[in-house]
């Protein structure tokens, strides 16, 4: 559905994207994950034919974003980070405007359907200026799906919402994901975990990791860490744990010890045996699940300070 090859984008001399490549299959929900300024918005703006790439080839539904720009715009529904709304218009008037721009047939019926879907039917006649942030976000979503696009591109759809609204929008995106191809950017990692089939982690204009949330976690968890809690110890627990084969590192945590081992599955019986043989009680022995947060920090921590700010919304 979407193919990106060696996509490069320069703003002046600054390389916002340094040759990224990926594909998105029909029906997939793909999350772009990355800190601000990583190149997420730039990638999306190129995908939506808002601006042309400096180099590389991007096709959406078989159309090139430069040569087939109009066709690309037709198959894409896009919600930019700052939701593009006209405060003086009513919700209905706004959607009517967008629907006419897009040449949606039977506009009024379609607007009703879409408003129902985002749960804004009863606010159809409200002026947009009087809506809460969460409602505006939903109107923005309604705008993006008004023409039932094959591809939906959502730039940080949950930013600035309160926790309940965040849940609602995520729910909505998951629902839409059943019959749309969705690319959706976020810097909240749990969000990507919950909503996406696949995650691309972008940093400094490059893809630093790619895979299902589960996959990514497994991959980076190799030789992961264990938490061990020992009760009633009358000796040096840390020293004992260190002696267990394949254990690389032991650090004492609040109530126990965190162990890094080369093989976090095979080492568990050895630890249990060692503790019991010493005559102590083993209260807890569990793997520490690495969240995407950890993965993310590990992948992108290298040169945090040099991060360039993302180009501001104009």
């Amino acid at each position: 559905m979407i193919e990106v090859q060696d996509l490069t984008k320069y703003y002046g001399n600054f390389a916002a994207l340094k040759g990224i490549s990926f594909t998105v299959e029909k029906g997939e929900v793909v999350g772009f994950l990355g800190p601000n300024g990583a190149g997420k918005t730039t990638t999306m703006r190129i995908l939506t034919a808002y601006m042309p790439p400096s180099a590389g080839k991007v096709t959406v539904a078989g159309y090139d974003v430069v040569d087939g720009s109009m066709e690309v715009r037709r198959v894409i529904g896009y919600m930019p980070e700052t939701v593009p709304l006209y405060p003086d218009m009513s919700v209905f008037g706004y959607l009517d405007f967008v629907a006419e721009l897009r040449g949606v047939p039977d506009r009024w019926d379609r607007i009703e359907d879409v408003l129902d879907r985002v749960g804004m039917l009863e606010r159809a006649d409200s002026l947009i200026r009087n809506l809460s942030k969460g409602m505006r976000q939903r109107v923005g979503l309604a705008q993006a799906i008004i023409h039932d696009p094959e591809v939906l591109i959502l730039d940080e759809p949950t930013i600035g919402l309160d926790p309940r609204q965040v849940l609602e929008v995520r729910q909505l995106v998951r629902e839409l994901g059943r019959d749309h191809t969705i690319i959706f950017s976020t810097h909240i990692l749990s969000e990507a975990e919950q909503v996406c089939d696949r995650v691309l982690i972008i940093d400094h204009g490059q893809i630093v990791a790619e895979g299902t949330p589960q996959n990514l976690r497994d991959r980076l968890q190799k030789g992961g860490r264990l938490f061990v809690r020992v009760g009633r110890a009358d000796g040096d627990v840390e020293a004992l744990l260190r002696k267990v084969p394949t254990v690389r590192e032991v650090t004492s945590a609040e109530t126990g010890f965190i162990i890094s081992a080369d093989d976090n599955v095979g080492v568990r019986p050895a630890i249990a045996r060692a503790v019991v043989e010493a005559g102590w009680d083993l209260l807890e022995l569990r793997p520490l699940a690495m969240t995407l947060e950890d993965i993310f920090l590990e992948l992108t921590a290298s040169d945090e300070d040099t991060a360039e700010p993302e180009p501001e919304e104009e």
Partner: protein
Amino acid sequence: MTDETLVSEKTEEVTEAPPRQGRPNGLWAIFKKELGHYFTSPIAYFVAFATLLLTGLIFSNDLRSRVLYQAPPDGTVVLQTLVFLMIFLAPLLTMRLLAEETREGTLELLLTMPVRDGDIVLGKFLGAWAYFTIIMVVMLVYPFILASVSSPDQGVIITAYIGAWLFSGAALAIGLLFSAVTENQIVAGFLGVAAMVVLWLAEILAPMAPPELRPFLREISIEGHFSSSFARGVIDLTDVAYYVFMMAGALFITTRIVESRRWR
């Protein structure tokens, strides 16, 4: 041959039968939105109010003095006033058109719609011109009043209206151009007024300019093409071409500026 064309026409009809199926009409949608906006915008009401008030005052004063001095009626006085007022009115009406879209981020919406950049610009321009045309239609009350109390030269009045209408189109296009330059409405307005003043004064400044520049300055004078021809009952193709060229040129540059936003 005829049969063939008939058939192709028919198939075309069939494919176009469902209402607006797959035929985005951006120009029309934007035109409607902008024209509609003028009827909810305080600035637009202010422009209409000021235009009608000032031209009304001028009209009644002029009429009174002409009656007093037994002078022949002149239906073009209000239009002379109107074209002068356009220096301020056109930027007022157009300053928000693109500046606000840029500032609010809605330009990103428009630029990712299946609509040509030129249609966005043209739709906005036509919306503004249509609104101003409505004001000018209301101003037709003056020649009717004049005709009811005397027998003015209708020919001159008609050409003057045509001229003033073309003038307003050019002025609005120039205002729109400056709305594309900046995202600050006020700055756009000021630049628009400044540009209009320069174009207005070009003829007056001409004698002071170096001789080789004089004909050029006289030619670009936006006022000269009105007051010395349309306002005297003359429709000169050069003057029509001047205003059309001003409109087309300003709209073309505006489109280029909008396009350039994609490259930043």
